[in-house]
Symmetry: C2
Subunit: 274 residues, 2 copies
DNA sequence: TATAGCTGTATCGCTGAGTGATACGCAAGG
DNA sequence: CCTTGCGTATCACTCAGCGATACAGCTATA
């Protein structure tokens, strides 16, 4: 399920060493704060409850330090013991923070009603994602009538280099910046169709630059066709993206674009203006 | 908008002092970890970007400590400067953690398709919320066709004592436990109809104990009618709740219950079994 | 144009908070 | 039986975090 999850991980193992280096020359850097977040981030790499030792290993810390941090986070409600199984899982207090993050995000608030309108027009799945360097983070998802897959995907992230939304985002950047981002990406083939060659990707980006949207067929998931367009701020910089996705068996790329791209373009323009 | 938000706040001002007391006798308690989470929690109390001093005040810390923690969290992507305005806002890295919390929550995974089915049957809003002591935290929300209000409410929390879902949750607890929870709640009148008297609330709880569901009219929001039922684990303990809500102008409580309670009860039973 | 108050940033000596090695009781599995 | 992993608890050392202090830049009020 999380096969195509693309976490940014500055705080795990190799990342931990990097942070310690950064801390050496930075008198304002608090190691304990970083370690705390490393413990919380340990759960990125698992799909079941984690024991103390597992957390320690994933976070790159020793058992004692992990014990203390886990103990403290447990007191505060950010971690809890799994009621059924052994081990620890993220606690409910996390939900408060995502609520803050969404509430205080300037892009999201005005976008919601616009996305609902869009979904009304096109009866496929509609997603809004935010840009975080080389990845897109899903912030909002509206399932279609016939939902097959997972629907609660807030926080799921996908790569920029091989998604329709990503290509449209790249098309709104200067070329050298886009190429640099592609090079920094950890490119892998999720399907046989996944593009990983820089120039091949840039060809899609250029097409997106002309039409305003990009269409991707089975880049990330078999059977999926997606069309994406970037939301830009008043300076023309991409800040988010909207994706509409359906089944590749239902549409040719051309039909799909003809059917939904007008509504899509109208929506991203409206969000950018809001 | 956040008028009825009901944050649990163990780490702010008076809460901070409480934590320091706890830390004195607890050799495993890391002050720096708690302080880090206090800084992140500072955003619970605002609806706009916060300056360093504002964060410090909200978190109950001095400016220097806040500076260092904010600096560190910024390096890690948990805080960022607001691009338009001054000040800091939560960063995008938060999204990774909510994804973990949802992914690893045993209640949520099997519930999603069941909730989609439920929404198909009843054309009103459907919510799933998790229990956190005296409050219910929204984990999943499916908007109806005609959505009026805010739709992306993951992490929003509402009180247990004056909601339909809350009453149904209380009805699945021993009476003394339920009464204790009500007493510990910070009861306030959100509307003229809001029940705050312990015995009045317990009367609704008893009704819910008989029928299995509770109906609340304009308890939290004017014009809202809601029906809620608890999800219980195999031991009979309440672990979550499902709510269906509509407009009180469209339904009498009896009609509403007759129309949707069968589907609702079927859904919560199925989630509990999953 | 002072000036007062805010912002974010930077410096620095002191000390106790955090560290990490170590140990213990318990439960599961062989 | 022994082993291995779990969560928990203890303790002396020391350097990481502390918090007082200072400063440049920006806004707004006087």
């Amino acid at each position: 399920m999380t096969r195509f999850v693309n976490r940014s991980r500055p705080h795990t193992e190799s990342g931990a060493r990097h942070l310690d280096e950064a801390a050496e020359n930075d008198p304002l850097f608090i190691r304990a704060t970083a370690r705390t977040m490393m413990v919380l981030s340990a759960f990125h790499e698992t799909d079941r409850p984690m024991s103390l030792s597992e957390i320690a290993r994933a976070a790159g810390l020793d058992r004692s330090t992990t014990q203390r941090i886990v103990h403290t986070l447990r007191q505060l409600g950010y971690l809890q013991r799994d009621p059924h199984d052994r081990g620890y899982v993220p606690g409910i207090r996390i939900y408060d923070h995502i609520f803050d993050a969404m509430r205080l995000n300037r892009q999201l608030q005005p976008a919601v009603p616009l996305l609902l309108d869009l979904r009304r027009n096109v009866n496929e799945r509609v997603d809004l994602s935010l840009i975080d360097d080389t990845r897109l983070v899903y912030a909002f998802r509206l399932p279609p009538k016939r939902e097959v897959l997972h629907a609660m995907m807030v926080g799921l992230s996908v790569p920029i280099y091989c998604t329709s939304a990503g290509w449209s985002v790249l098309s709104r950047m200067p070329e050298d910046e886009a190429r640099d981002l592609i090079r920094r990406s950890d490119r892998q083939r999720y399907t046989a169709q996944t593009l990983i060659d820089e120039d091949a990707i840039m060809a899609e980006v250029e097409k997106a630059g002309e039409t305003g949207y990009a269409v991707a067929v089975e880049q990330l998931l078999p059977g999926e066709i997606a069309i994406g367009a970037a939301v830009t701020n008043t300076l023309g910089r991409p800040v988010a993206a909207v994706t509409i996705s359906g089944l590749s068996s239902d549409w040719t790329p051309e039909e799909f674009a003809r059917a939904v791209s007008p509504s899509l373009m109208q929506t991203v323009a409206a969000i950018g203006r809001a």
